[in-house]
Amino acid sequence: MSNILVYALHYDGAINKNSLGAVSEGAKLAKELGGEAHAILVGENIPQDLAASLGEYGAAKVLTAEGPDGLGQPVVDAMAAAIGSGGYKYALFGGGLLGFEVGAGLAARLGAGVAMEITTVRAEGGELVAERPILGDSSISEIKYRSEVGIIIGRLNAFEIVKGGAGAAPVEAISYEASPQSAQATIVTRGEQRGADVDIEGANILVAGGRGLGKAEGFELCTDLAAAFGGSSAVAATRAVVDAGWYPYAGQIGQTGKTVAPKLYLAAGISGAIQHKVGMQSSENIVAINKDANAPIFEFSDLGIVGDLNKILPKLTEAIKAKKGS
């Protein structure tokens, strides 16, 4: 049997968007392999209707396993148990932190091959072939699996959400034995929102700041510029500066933050690491200002300015104000 088991992350009564993409992708691929896509949720008191709703995205069956929320290793335990019962040839994950942890742990547990940051998967001769961009997305590698089970961890937003399934899926509760290591971790708090609640998802124009701003006060340059644009504009940030406490988590773009696609994305002092890129690369126009001519962001910006943002941003703010006022 060529079934695909897809991990579905859920939080606060909703399935993660990347997991919905992974379920949709799994359903499409399973059909090509002549099998079924099954989803698995692990957590405390998983709502039945939430699990069943994955049928709408193509899951033929949804497994639920009782376990602590927000930790990777219990999910490895549950998925290994499900796969051990037979029928699965692939395990699929959407992007995200837990997906990486679980996929890698599962590979070790099962002695399976694993590949991560996958952007495309295709069926070929009854097998799946995964594609992964490497070396700063300058080249693409193909991965095939020689183990009984192959593990595919998608890149954030790589898989399209397709709502075309048959409605509610049957839900089956499974039991599993927790590994000794799973018992050694306990989650104390989950999903703590640090900083103010800023709304960046509705903005047409985003001015985003990174480590290159130099200090928390550097964000004033971004705030002033966003204000000059006026209308539907907002200020966003990278993970590095959010972790440093310079800007609220709610305004963070990328792997563990928001995904945006505004009309204009102006990146100030952002190098453009993959984890950031995946959250903003669909923006219509990307402008980057960075003093490092080698910054990866220049590889995918439409307009790149190599220079000192402390000199450029204030003058740009004034020029836009003047232009708007005229």
């Binding site: 939080y11 990777g72 290793q73 932190l97 837990l98 990486f100 942890e101 890698a104 590979a107 070790a108 002695g111 399976a112 091959g113 694993v114 590949a115 991560m116 997305d137 300058s138 080249s139 693409i140 590698s141 193909e142 991965i143 095939k144 699996y145 183990s147 192959g150 290591q181 050694q184 971790a185 306990t186 989650i187 104390v188 708090t189 989950r190 999903g191 703590e192 124009i205 993970r239 972790d243 440093a244 988590y249 563990t256 204009l264 993959i274 126009n285 402008v287 001519a293 995918f300 439409d302 307009l303 790149g304 300015i305 190599v306 000199k311 450029i312 740009l316 020029a319 836009i320 232009k323």
Partner: protein, 263 residues
Amino acid sequence: MKICVLVKEVPDAAVQKRIDPSTGRMDRGGEKNLNPYDTHAIEAAMQIKEGGAVEVEEIVAVTMGPSSAVRALHKAVSLGADRSVHLSDDALAGSDVAATGYALAQTLKRENPDLVLLGQQSDDGECYTIGAVVAEHLSMPSLTQVIKLDLAGSELTCERQAEYGYDTVKIQTPAVISVGDAINEPRYPSLKAIMGAKKKPLDTVGTGDVEIDASKVGGDNSNAQWTSAKAPPQKAAGLIIEDEDTAETVEKIVAWLDERKLL
């Protein structure tokens, strides 16, 4: 307690990003260095040692790689590790992340550490996953992207940013923790430490020394077979402006924005 820090040799970023003018492509040969993300893991180990909440007998840097990887170990030692272990064997060449994690776990078993620390990612492979693989083979709990780490007795309190905000997780040692680059600001090695690094004990081991099953490692035995790369779809190159006269640069930006009706 004993802390092992996993480190890796990667192409030096400064060299890596150079374009070969004859081909117009990246030149990835040349200088190699310690993966910059790993310096945060070494610093985290040093801060635990210096913090005094627990007694750290030893910090051991561990790597797997060809003979040149010794340089990464010297750097790790200059940053504070007491000694290092180099797993080096032709049989390991081409191992995928799962095989590499297995081989490193076998090497760590001989050290029997209370805590294994590593960086959040390598500067070249960017797999983010080696810690979870190693932890599974060692049957230890693990967490990645940790940006705050407190140790009290055998209990670690870890903070990290995950999909929905910041999580706090308590973990019992022995454990495998991958640290994010926001956890600390790594120190610079002193000249004395750099000079002394080559004199610190370095143990070179092969697959047989740490009981690695040779049929599970190496390129041919890896379960994920990576095949030749192809070029991604070409995207039209963006316009690049070097800022020399800021007034002029700003004028160009405004014109560019105006042309696209973004003002």
